[in-house]
Structure formats: C-alpha cells, structure tokens
C-alpha cells in the first residue's frame, strides 16, 4: 500500500502567541514547534497500515526549511521517506492544498492521511480541498478504520454519534483523536531518521484566496466571584446563575 501522511509544523500547545509589529502576522521568534498533534495520529495510522499491508509511508510537509524538523519527527516514528514542498511565506489552505495536489498527482498513493485540523490556524480545510482538487473520495474526522474486500470502512464523528462510510481506494482521510495512540520514536528510530533523505520539491503556486487583515488578542476576562468554599455556597450559586447570569 502506498501511504502518504501530510504533516504540519506548528507552535506547541503551551506557546504564548505574539502578534508581530505589522499587526497581521504572528511573531514566531522564540516559539517551540511540534508535529501537529492530529498529524501525529495520521503518521501512526500510516505506520500501522504499512505494518499490516506492507508498502511505504511518505511524510509530506509544505512550508519553509524549518518544517524539516517535523518531517524528521515523522521519520523517527518510522516513516520511510520525507518530502518538503518548499514555500517561503505563510500559505493559506488553498496554496497548501495546491502544493499537495501537485505532489500527490506525481506519485498516485492509495491512501493519503491528514490530521483533521492544524492546531495553528485551525482551518480544518486542507484534506477536503485536496480531495476535491484530485476528484477523490474523502472521509474526514475518522475515528475507526477497517478494510474489507478492497474497500475501506471508516467511522467518522458526527454530533452525538458516528457515521459509517464505505469507499473504494484511493482515498483521502482526515483523522480524529481516538483512532489510535501515536507511538514515541525509539532511539533507534531517531538515529535512523538522521540518515533518511528529505526530498525537496518546488511548484508554481497560486495567489492566496484568503487574506488576514488584522490580528488581535481576545478580550481578557477578569476572574469572577468565589461564591463560597463548601456545599453551603450552592444555594447562592444557583441563585446567581438563575437571576444574575440568567443561564438556567
């Protein structure tokens, strides 16, 4: 099975995000970057498919040289090969999707695994954009995956439940937490990743479709009222919720 996992390089979840002086971009200096958590699940799932069906796992990232760090992480987990599609600037989802489309067209994988969402710009768009560009079926936010008679059977999350989806391959999948637990790279994996090659690709990419015009901090919230320190406070709390906040 030819498996591709698309991985993004994002600030870690503890990061304090600062707005740059232009007021519309993020100052990334001093930030610690990680392999986006959902993409880690995608890599894990890719490795499990390879372990079961054979084949190879390619990790792909779109961005500047810095993304190589994240590709190395995927290699250390066990991916066979890594590809960096080079861009200089921050790209919108449409540009990222176009870049991935170009690469995927060259190699024709059986399955492309994405995270459901990058935890930086929280778009949750790229997998479906790529699927439509390639005219392939897609299933997003997958929490369960099986194969039967050359078909893939997935469960995807919907509000309050699941949808069971059956499809042919090739297919685009975005994964949700719960599908599998990502492994930690072993020391051997980390050593091996250092000698695995990272191929670089360049494509002519289109203009952005979506433009950030301003960034700001969310309105800060001041600490509220401590109603009490034991069960005797419950009555007052309920009164406040009912009469003051009017939420019950």
């Amino acid at each position: 099975m030819k498996i591709v996992t698309c991985v993004n390089h994002v600030p870690d979840t503890e990061a304090k995000i600062k707005i740059a002086s232009d007021g519309k971009s993020v100052d990334t200096s001093g930030l610690n970057f990680i392999l986006s958590p959902y993409d880690e699940i995608a890599v894990e799932q890719g490795l499990r498919l390879k372990e079961k069906f054979g084949g190879e796992v390619v990790a792909v990232s779109v961005g500047p040289d810095a993304n190589k760090e994240t590709l190395r992480k995927a290699l250390a987990m066990g991916a066979d090969k890594a590809v960096l599609i080079k861009t200089n600037n921050l790209c919108d989802s449409f540009v990222v999707a176009e870049a991935l489309k170009n690469y995927l067209k060259e190699i024709n994988p059986d399955i492309v695994l994405f995270g459901k969402q990058s935890i930086d710009y929280d778009n949750a768009q790229v997998p479906s954009l790529v699927a439509e560009m390639l005219n392939l079926p897609s299933v997003t936010t997958v929490v369960k995956m099986d194969f039967e008679n050359n078909q893939i059977i997935c469960e995807r999350e919907i509000e309050g439940g699941h949808e069971k989806v059956v499809s042919q391959l090739p297919i685009i999948i975005s994964v949700q937490k719960g599908l599998c637990e990502p492994r930690y790279p072993t020391l051997k994996g980390i050593m091996a990743s250092k000698s695995k090659p990272i191929e670089e690709k360049n494509y002519n990419l289109p203009e952005h479709k979506v433009e950030i015009v301003a960034l700001r901090l969310p309105p800060s919230k001041s600490a509220g009222k401590i109603v009490g320190t034991d069960v005797s406070a419950v009555k007052e709390l309920v009164r406040l919720l009912h009469e003051e906040a009017k939420v019950i």
Binding site: D122, L217, D230, A245
Partner: protein, 324 residues
C-alpha cells in the same frame, strides 16, 4: 447579489445551526443589499423545508431524493455547487458542523471560491465581508477577507444567535439534480447516534469533569446534573486519557471547541489546552478544591470545594429551581 444559506437537517429535522445560519445570512443581506435563499438537501425534506421561513427567509430550495437519506460528501458537494452556480450565489454560508466542515471546502473548490472556516462574526466594511475567526485555539483572533468573487464561510455553532421563529412559511422550490452512482463513491451506510444528551458542540449547557472527579463512577454525579439541565457532558483530556470518558467528550485544543451559554467545570485545573476549547463560553462555573487553580481565573462563578460533595447538592438545588 445572492446569499445561499445551507440549512442543515438530519433525519428530517433542521439542526439548530440551520436557524443560526439563516439568521446570519439575513443580517448579512441587510448590510449588503442582497437576496437570501435557503437550501435543504435530504430524503423527505420537502415537507419541513417551508418551516425555515419562520426565521425570515422567503425562499427555500429543496433537493429531495430517496438516495439522500444519509449525508454523502460528493453528492452533496455536487448539489450545492450546482444550485449555487444556477442561482449565481456569491456568498455561501454553512454551519461549522461536522457536515458543514466536510462539505464547504469541496464546494469552494468546485466554485473556485475562497473559504473562511469556523467564523465567530461576519461584518461588512467598505463592501467587503470581514470574517472573524479565532486561531491558535482562541489565543488570537483574526480578521480575514476572501479575495475571490465567490465566498464561502462556515459559522461556529452556538455563537450566532438564531432569530425567533415567527411561524411564517417559506416558498419551497423542489429542484431536481442528476446524480449518478459515481456521485456516491464514498457511501454512508449507517449512522449511529446516541440518544439522550446533546453533543458538546451543540449543547447550550455543558457539565464537564476532570481528574478531580477521582474515578470513572463519579461521573454519574456529572451526568445527573447534566440530565437535570438538558446539558451535554464534557471531559478534560486527563479524564479521557485515563479511560474514564470517551474521546468525543474531550474539550480543548485537541478536543472539541465549545461555546455554550453555561460551562460547569468540575475538578478541572484549567490547563491552557483545556481553556483553549472552552474559554469562549458565555458563563463559566468552576468547582475545584484548589483556590489557586487557573480555571478560577476565567470562571464567572466559583466554589472552592470538593466536587464530589458539591455536585449532588447542586443537582438538588437546580431541580428545585426548575421545578423538576
């Protein structure tokens, strides 16, 4: 100019987000001087279609087919894109629900449109639609514009308020779209929806528990309060990772983003990744033994105390006030 409001339904019932989307479309149309129509897709939907008129839209297009009993990414994409093209819609609004988030990007590609997802506000400035979207899990708020002629937006559930239903009926136009086997290439064969509590992304009240609940069986106390309030049940990652609660209840940066009217956090410390998923809740209540827990910094009301003792009392007291 025309605005298409995608009115999501499942099992023959409009979702609450459908009303939110339609109301947002009407507000936008007032600012842009545009026309609004709603689109509803599914099996046996012609009957309910006109009800959307109660939220101020006069015209609704219904695509009603037996083979649309379940949501289908590719078939829905084709239908929405075809209707949007025929109608020359320039703005398309969807809910940022599991269906809307799955569908909107594909429709955007078909229409060569740009897409801003999970928006929390839309406003018109100098003729441009400026969309507000939280990024970095709400640590930063961005304003974005879409540069293509056709623009697609998905709206975060529970943030846009739905107008109240005035009982008016919309004019229903049943439209036929040719679909072939190939349009159902990935096929939903079954949906399993739990009965009872609402999903955290849709609930207007959430009762959430963390490691401070001490043991999985203590979540019964959370569930009892939730049921009295008609609330959803949420959990911190610590509670999920411990195997106490299912993944789909996790709230936070690697869980669900929620904006209920009331969020009650019990035995949750308030780690930055948890706050990321719930800090936009309108009213936050924290119950925690530790007065220095960070959750108190964003809570509107707090009780410093043992959740296991406080929850039963709280349930009792709320039952009383609700007359249950």
């Amino acid at each position: 100019m025309k605005i298409l409001a995608f009115a999501e339904q499942r099992e023959g019932k409009f979702k609450k987000t459908a009303y939110e989307v339609v109301t947002a479309a009407i507000e936008l149309s007032n600012q842009l001087g545009a026309e609004v129509f709603a689109l509803v897709i599914g099996k046996n939907v012609s009957g309910i279609a006109s009800d959307i008129g109660g939220f101020g839209v006069n015209r609704v297009i219904a695509v009603d087919r037996d083979d649309l009993e379940y949501y289908s990414t590719t078939a829905y994409t084709k239908i929405v894109a075809e209707i949007a093209s025929r109608e020359k819609a320039e703005v398309l609004l969807f809910a940022a629900s599991q269906m809307g988030k799955d569908l909107a990007p594909r429709v955007a590609i078909k229409l060569d449109a740009g897409l801003a997802s999970d928006c929390t506000a839309l406003k018109v400035e100098n003729g441009n639609i400026v969309a507000t979207r939280p990024i970095f899990a709400g640590k930063i708020i961005s304003d974005v514009i879409i540069k293509s002629n056709i623009k697609v937006f998905t709206l975060r559930p529970n943030v846009f308020t739905a107008g109240s239903n005035n009982g008016q009926k919309a004019q229903v136009e049943n439209v036929t779209i040719n679909l072939s086997e190939g349009d159902f290439i990935a096929r939903v064969v079954e949906t399993k929806v739990g009965v009872g509590r609402p999903d955290v992304t849709e609930a207007s009240i959430i009762v959430s528990g963390g490691r401070g609940m001490k043991a999985p069986e203590n979540f019964k106390l959370i569930e009892e309060l939730a049921d009295v309030l008609g609330a959803g049940v949420g959990a911190s990652r610590a509670a999920v990772d411990a195997g106490w609660r299912p993944h789909d209840e996790q709230v936070g940066q690697t869980g669900k983003t929620v904006s209920p009217n009331l969020y009650i956090a019990c035995g949750i410390s308030g780690a930055i990744q948890h706050l990321a998923g719930m800090s936009s809740s309108k009213c936050i209540v924290a119950i925690n033994k530790d007065k220095d827990a960070p959750i108190f910094q964003i809570a509107d009301y707090g009780i410093v105390g043992d959740a296991l003792e406080i929850l039963p009392e709280l349930t009792k007291e709320i039952k009383m006030i609700l007359g249950k």
